[in-house]
Amino acid sequence: MKKYRHGDLALIGIEKLPEVIKISKSKVLMNGSGGHDHTFDHGEFYPQQDGLVIGYLVANNRTRLYHPEHGEKIKGKELREAKIAEGIYELLRQIEDTHDGMKPVID
């Protein structure tokens, strides 16, 4: 199973999607500050908040991740691009273990 880190977002390969989840039309996997969102193209996004989990992504061989700072620079494009392997991924947001408890990374 593949495991990717896209800045403060991890994509962890899993065998199958959980039951009772709904596909989203959104291309935004996770919001970042100042418009620095983690987005994707080609694939299916199933949002579901549960602790660190923010949802699931079903990737095909054309799926690409996009972000202003994370990925390969593409000439003439503002967003960087990252290619991931075909598969089903659980999406986890990064946290900080602070003196005040576990907190999602704020950016």
């Binding site: 994370h70 390969e72 900080e96 273990d97």
Partner: protein, 240 residues
Amino acid sequence: MKKINNKFIYRGDVKITHDNAKEWADKLKDIQLITGDLSINSNTSLPALKSVGGYLSIYSNASLKADSLKSVGGYLSIYSKIDEKLEKRLWNNNSKNKWNVCDLCSDWLLNQDKDFTYHINDIIFDKNLFTAVRLGNLSAAQVFEIKNMEQRRVAYGKMEKAKMTELPNLKTLDESKDKYGFVQRVISFTVEGFKDAFLFYNCFCPSTGREYYLETKQKTCEAAKAKSFGFNEIEFTEEW
């Protein structure tokens, strides 16, 4: 404003980059009005330009020479150090517009006490934190107290690194290289009033090389990275 002859009007948006700067300079040398947005990403001279109908954005490391430019219809976003005369002229004619300013803007502009949106290295700050970071007024402990990780990164980047020695009982608990060749560390220091030491995982983004500090309870780099995603250990196939 006097009516401008059609031949001196450019209709549409203009985005000037390193690759097209010369082409645009030739095309716009007599243009007095750009009806759309003007985005400056490379040094540019627009001697005849008087007015921009849309947004004006000047990005870092780009300079704009536009001695006739007065009026802007939309937001003004000044992310570069520009000529103070231009800055004052733009302010005097467009003070009611929304402004995005940065740490490279002049003291004069930043002292206009307007409801600006403040940026340092593309990251938004509130006015107080912006001012403290810009003027180098934060102690190392205050930098590590910043809750927003990107603001903390920028504030750390701007901080005199000698200030790190002010952190009480500063220690490096673990240090290694990640698989992209960047140094990663776990540091600890104490803060008065707290029984436990503060630990931070210091790492670099493999895409941009930007340096981050994330608070952790783990004493090793690998554990700190894994735990930040809820695992005891993890080996990523690829990281960006």
